[in-house]
Symmetry: C2
Subunit: 92 residues, 2 copies
């Protein structure tokens, strides 16, 4: 079972629901919210809303990692993009 949720352009609540469902109906112990570039702010919003509004007292942020990825864009130019991984886990 892969417990990663990759944040993109879908409606905000889709991601929050996916996170909450993993803990409530799929009994996950940990899930990782991943995002790149401008979606990083969104990943933080999703983690905050999921843990504080929906899973308050049951699930909390366990770890946050930031990093960079380098890749070539369409023009062949080397580009750097930031990444984030927010791990949520049960508080037990």
């Amino acid at each position: 079972m892969d417990n990663s949720i990759f944040v993109g352009t879908k409606p905000f609540m889709n991601y929050v629901t996916a996170v909450v469902m993993q803990f409530t109906t799929k009994n996950a112990n940990e899930i990782v919210i991943k995002a790149r570039g401008k979606f990083i702010s969104r990943a933080v919003d999703i983690a905050e809303v999921a843990t504080k509004r929906f899973l308050n007292g049951q699930v909390a942020v366990k770890a946050i990692l930031i990093d960079s990825e380098e890749f070539q864009n369409k023009e062949g130019k080397q580009v750097r993009v930031s990444t984030i991984e927010i791990t949520l886990g049960r508080t037990d």
Copy 2:
């Protein structure tokens, strides 16, 4: 001495330079990059570029905290905004 840098709408490199200067000319041991809402992605970019391009091997991410703030907007509505605090410190 307050070692916080609050990320807003100034040019990107202003923030990177401010971070690098704190470590190189002001001899800071730790600085905290703070941002709210959509500026969170920018705060991560600033931390990544400062630590990996300019201060590689000397300064690294020590801690990342995310949280929420609630406030009333102009229409009197209660609004939630996410926040981030990225602490950078000298390695060794």
